[in-house]
Symmetry: C2
Subunit: 343 residues, 2 copies
């Protein structure tokens, strides 16, 4: 046991098995770090669960985050875990309200790293307007985990009058995207493999709740929200096409890709359409609403680079892309794993 | 790739990284196993989250399960993960309704093991009357996890008129327990360390929802429900004593402990009061209700061996136990970790 931990969360500067044992050490960690940083009137009860008042339709979502490395340009696993579930709930056409936070920590994780991650969780929760109201901490032996895995689950209130579903698309609907794709995936792999580019690509990790709220406000008949994380834009569009039974046509020239991301993808043999994002939003709206929705998206801080990237078609040919050179190609679902542990 | 998987979930007999990649292989696993075994009208939507109708007070809880081994006498990690969250929600005085299921799988897990676990999840959900409505699957590289970790989060509807909270105890309240303690912890360690006893101790892993419902039905003024998992009965009682500010006195002769568990504890140097359970319930009720509640508990299949084990006292001396030899001793909170990865 060393005593040089800058803040005496406990007297430990690394997480030990006892921090997950349900006894005094666990209590120490919960009170000295979790409650201190995340505490609110609902979390502080320290019950087996939290109680909240509800009414109407709720959205419920879960995600476990195993990203490697846990700190990367533009974010860390704590922020990612909050925004990931905030965005899944938002994509149900709902306002995220409450999150749970469950940690699986590998014995030996520096306490300072854990503190940084919890502070990130706090800040991300504040930015997205959600409360962490219940949690759990487990510790596994060294070599039986990988630094830290985080599960967040959450509930949100479905926005009145909005019913989004991938099978609600119709031919003539337009497909919008809120900005540059592939930044998150390329930031992670650059950081993991030590690849240097002229400018650092940062993760686009960001919450989508205000963007979703703005869109629902002017277009309650919005058909689909989808955040293209693992599998990228291509996989998300394939899922939508499959669920709706209609074709999707996208235009390569309209899809925002940074030069650095395009360059990195060329070197790595990736296609930006398949690279993971966390802060990107695919929106499908009736054709007549597309221009209005685009305008509103562009005014939101999370949508300055929004574009109409395609349309739903009456054919059954899956997802096709009109390329910049004028040809058309099938954009299939990714088969296996392009880039593991991206989220 | 081998082809001897008895049921072609996919053509894989082990989980590979691509099963968590968000592409075709992921889809294969989700449709061929998750939806097949767990499917219901709400899960099948395959959206980013699930939608449900709500009204009134809801309880929300989360737990990650890292138990080792994943199969043990009397249960497995799948069953444990369902009952664990069902019980946390029940202990909020609520009826569990919906669960999320999030898996972190180590590459190489036999597909048959995963199938067994998912079937256990399905059966446990059916027994406890909950629906799995949203989920997530991640796969990490071999050596970066340990077979499988499972997070379940859940929501339940708080039973009308019931408000349980550890700080609501008052002197004169009586403390009840629904049966033998320590079975789960001893089952796990016996299985892990290959310790043989004359009779196999099986985990007490079981859902508490009907027991909680029965108690709330005849005693809506119930003060506390608590399931003594990590840290055992001793830690749970210490938490309650601390939250309420009152003392707790328990009677060793009233606390049900099986001979095999007592024997194993003697060999291992454990105290049964600190050994983990999953299927045990501490109940605190006003003194005048104790006998009625005991009677109802004994009639429930999960409460045949229920007993009144102690009382809340007006002093501030924490938790004390009157021993079988007539002395009295302090029962403190456990310090670190008696037995890691018990749940």
């Amino acid at each position: 046991m060393e005593l040089n931990c800058p803040v005496p969360i406990s007297r430990y500067n690394k997480v030990v098995l006892g921090h997950g044992g349900g006894g005094k050490l666990s209590g120490d960690l919960i009170e000295g770090l979790m409650i201190k940083e995340l505490g609110n009137d609902m979390l502080n009860v320290l019950h087996d669960g939290a109680i909240f008042e509800s009414a109407g339709k709720l959205a419920f979502s879960t995600d476990s985050f195993v990203v490697n490395p846990i700190f990367f340009p533009g974010g860390d696993i704590g922020e990612l875990a909050v925004y990931g579930t905030v965005n899944d709930i938002s994509c149900c056409g709902a306002t995220p309200l409450y999150l749970s936070l469950s940690l699986i920590i590998e014995e030996g994780l520096p306490m300072d790293d854990l503190r940084k991650i919890i502070v990130s969780v706090r800040n991300a929760a504040k930015i997205s307007g959600v409360k962490i109201i219940t949690g759990d901490t487990k510790v596994v032996e060294k070599g039986k985990g990988d630094k830290i895995f985080i599960n967040t689950s959450g509930v949100g209130s479905v926005i009145s009058g909005v019913t989004v579903s991938p099978d609600s698309c119709k031919p003539g609907d337009m497909i919008l995207l809120n900005g540059y794709i592939g930044d998150h995936g390329i930031a992670i792999i650059s950081s993991r493999e030590g690849i240097q580019f002229e400018t650092t690509v940062e993760s686009d990790c960001a919450p989508l709740n205000t963007l979703v709220a703005d869109i629902c406000n002017i277009c309650p008949s919005v058909r689909v929200f989808r955040d293209p994380t693992r599998g990228g834009v291509a996989s998300a569009l394939n899922e939508i096409s499959k669920a709706s039974g209609y074709g999707i046509r996208i235009f390569e020239r309209e899809i925002p890709v940074r030069d650095e991301v395009r360059g990195a993808c060329e070197i790595l043999g990736f296609d930006p359409l398949y690279v993971a994002n966390e802060g990107k939003l695919i929106v499908i709206v009736p054709g007549e609403d597309a221009d209005r929705v685009l305008e509103v998206m562009k005014k939101n801080p999370g949508g300055g680079d929004s574009a109409i990237i395609g349309e739903v078609t009456g054919d059954k040919t899956g997802v096709r892309m009109e390329t910049v050179i004028g040809s058309s190609r099938i954009v299939d679902m990714i088969s296996g794993e392009q880039l593991p542990r991206i989220c």
